[in-house]
Amino acid sequence: MNTSSNTYEAVIGLEIHVQLNAATKLFCDCPNQPGDAPNRNTCPVCLWLPGAFPKLSREALEKAVLACLSVHCTVAEESAFDQKVYYYPDLPKGYQLSQHHKPLAINGWIDIPGSKDSADQLRRLRIHHIHLEEDVAKLIHETEGRKPVSLVDFNRAGAPLIEIVTEPDMRSPYEAMEFLKKLRTHLRYTGSTECSMEKGTMRADANISLRKPGTEEMNTKVEVKNMNSIRHVGDAIAYEIQRQAECLDRGEPVTLHTRLWDPDKQVTFPMREKFAGPCVPDPSVPAIHMDAQWLETIKQRLPEMPSQKADRFMAEFGLKADDAHTMSQERDVAEFFEAVVRLGVSPLKAANWMIAHLMPGLRDRNLDLCTTRLTPERFSGLLALLDNEKINAAAAKEILFQMLEKDGSPEELTAAAGLEQVSDEAALVALADGIIAGHPSDAADFKNGNPKVVGFLMGLAMKASKGKANPKQMKEILTRQLNSL
């Protein structure tokens, strides 16, 4: 890292677009499914035909309000839509309905770990406001013969979005990335959004400027777009800090403009500006007047947030801080964990098995908890088999992975795979004797005082039993038989 960037302090703000998972678009009844066959989910409203008027979706409003509450925003008593004017073929009505003058909510915050090393010192990052807006259409660039053509897919036009605008509180790529992770966790908890940067349901733009450390000045900022993972956001910000620092070192001024992140070359480059105008109040969508009672009912629907949950998991279940954090980050994971505990499994065992085996298993198979066939009942049934020594840990792991994609009770799957643990004393003694008889020199080694031999013979015995032997019992028998030679 060039030392020049250390002589400046970075001032970073984020603008994050999040697609709400409401059933319909923001202003019409068309399905909110942008991925369907092109232009399938359209009507006069989202095609912006003359004479069709936007009608605000109550569900989208509810989901947006939940999202605002989850990051501690104050929901405005009155918010209203504006026409954000710009000309681009992805917006063929010439303006986007957005909330510029009167946003839905203001003044939120999110706490992030203060640094990588001191996770318990929290740093509070402020949110300036959150507003509702409609998404624009999608352009698809193709060629007809040699002629380039641009096609417009209106499935996404009018999809409900919220935009979260932060204060310029972040000072490093690390803080921006932590903010995004926390924001994603909070928003997902509300059930209002999928929040996936990879799938495009969360998009983050960063505004970056530099200043001398210790000053409060706000210098000319550069906006960076087109990052499609949280890591790319960190990389792009780091690159941009370096680029601006080098600019300033050379005595060149930083100019106000927008740059795009190129993930392959790992650089930002200037983009052509859209012709954008101001925001004019829209006379056709009525202002949103927040009814106190209605807002109260929405507040009731706000679930326990992840940090509260983690605290409770430590206090109530005795989980370690790390494990409590892991068990609370995703709502489906937390709910699964608590359901398993309610079924009588010890919280520590449930957490250990989820962290050590279940979650890596899901990751390897590219699955989510909610899309697998695993239920808390089946998972706790499996752990009960383990507790009762019906199967051993290796077999339990094997059955667990089967259960992710297969139906059947843990007992049935175990029987079908022939993985029941062998605890029959006579059978294990016979097995031990056979192994010892086959390796007389190792048995002699043991007699001469080398205890490591047990481990070696144990491996052979487990292999011979196809992993089914009760390992604890097997080891006892092997030791006993060796000693009795």
Partner: protein, 414 residues
């Protein structure tokens, strides 16, 4: 391509319901109001060839009440002014037609009615659904009604007014009761009081003042109380209207960019070139100038737009205060010196509609009454009486209009 001057379309997609309150009533419209499968180009090349894919709410309500939609007449581009509108002339000259619908943004419906000897009504903003209306100035425009008889206006309002799920901007309260009897009195017996402007520079021109004073006599003679009042800051109304309307028009007309409708020339170049080429060819000079003015305020002087919005609220509260002193305000409709049918610049257009703009700026109902303010010197000059009422005072206004009609039968052709 502008629609033909008047296209009779007897094979309307949905025949009117028989036995309804409007059975036998024949209505013509402008091609800015959607009738399914009819050309709906709003008089602009920007929408050339565009056919509506659904019926406007007003059209389906009229049909549901038994009215038939006879056809559509040529109109001014995007309904701005009446230069090019044939609707009032056709309506006045065709005995089989009873009424017309015409978007009123500057005062078009009242003015066209005034110049053709018809009644013209602009309802309260938000009382009629705009669903299916190809609009230009959303916060001011409302479908106006032209008719040969004032009772038809009340009957049509009864059929058309009221909330519509497809237009979220409408008034939420239930519509007025349009079966109010024609009367010059309140239900408690008190006479309706009509305010006329005192010392208004716009009315100082002698011929206009004379013609209008004949109307004042007719009003007083029909059992109303007439009271002179100060009309506040009338001279500010036109520029306030113009700045806000131009900005809204610039925004609304953004959709005419050649991506969706109209005829796009085969061309090389990028999107920006396409926009310039299409928008350059799609609009006629009058509307182009208006959109340019709006874009100027949007991009270069947004503060002027914000100030106009503040002024609009201030003026509205001043005018609303007048309705605590009087029931209705009376003004001439036309200043008799301009020619609204040939106005082809922004300044001429605003000058021509100087007396009708207030109702649009404030969203208030206004009724043009013909034949009561005819100049003594020139009998073809009817400057009109325009009654403006408080918000949602539409039914009372129409009742007052019918009272004037009944008391002055001699003035109206039978």
């Amino acid at each position: 391509m502008t629609t033909d001057t008047f296209v009779h379309r007897p094979s309307a997609p949905d025949a009117p319901v028989s036995g309804g309150p409007l059975s036998g009533l024949s209505v013509i419209i402008h091609p800015d109001l959607s009738v399914r499968d009819w050309p709906t180009d709003a008089g602009s090349k920007a929408l050339a060839g565009f056919c509506a894919v659904f019926d406007a709410t007003l059209i389906s309500r009229l049909k549901g009440a038994g009215a038939s939609i006879a056809g559509s007449a040529s109109m001014a581009e995007l309904g701005f002014g009446i230069n090019g509108s044939a609707l009032a002339r056709i309506l006045a000259g065709d005995d089989t037609l009873h009424a017309g619908l015409m978007t009123d943004t500057l005062g078009e419906a009242r003015m066209a009615a005034c110049l053709s000897g018809l009644w013209g009504f602009k309802p309260t903003w938000g009382l009629l659904s705009r669903y299916g209306l190809t609009g230009l100035v959303p916060s001011m425009e409302v479908t106006g009604i032209l008719a040969k008889h004032p009772a038809d206006i009340a009957k049509m309002m009864a059929a058309m007014a009221g909330p519509d799920d497809n237009d979220g901007s409408m008034c939420v309260e239930p519509p007025p009761d349009f079966s109010v009897p024609a009367n010059a009195q309140h239900s408690d017996g008190k006479l309706f009081c009509i305010g006329v402007p005192k010392n208004m520079p716009a009315l100082s021109e002698t011929a206009l003042a004379k013609a209008f004073s004949r109307a004042k006599d007719a009003i007083a003679g029909s059992g109303f109380t007439v009271k002179e009042i100060e009309f506040p800051d009338f001279q500010l109304i036109a520029s306030t209207h113009q700045i806000i309307a131009a900005v809204e028009a610039s925004s609304s007309a953004g959709k005419y960019d050649g991506v969706r409708y109209g005829r796009r020339e085969d061309m090389d170049g990028n999107w920006n070139d396409m926009y310039l080429a299409f928008r350059g060819a799609a609009f006629d000079p009058l509307i182009k100038t208006f959109l340019m003015q709006g874009a100027y305020f949007q991009f270069q002087d947004y503060e002027a737009f914000e100030n106009a919005c503040i002024l609009r609220r201030t003026l509205l509260s001043q005018v609303s205060a007048l309705f605590t002193q009087v029931d209705f305000l009376a003004l001439p409709t036309w200043d008799a010196t301009t020619d609204p049918f040939s106005a082809d610049t922004i300044s001429d257009t605003y000058a021509a509609f100087s007396l009708t703009l207030a109702a649009n700026l404030f969203g208030l109902p206004a009724l043009h009454i013909p034949n009561l303010a005819i100049s003594a010197e020139n009998s073809s000059h009817d400057v009109g009486v325009q009654l403006m009422g408080p918000r949602m005072g539409d039914a009372g206004l129409l009742a007052a209009g019918q009272t004037l009609f009944h008391h002055n039968q001699g003035a109206f052709p039978s």
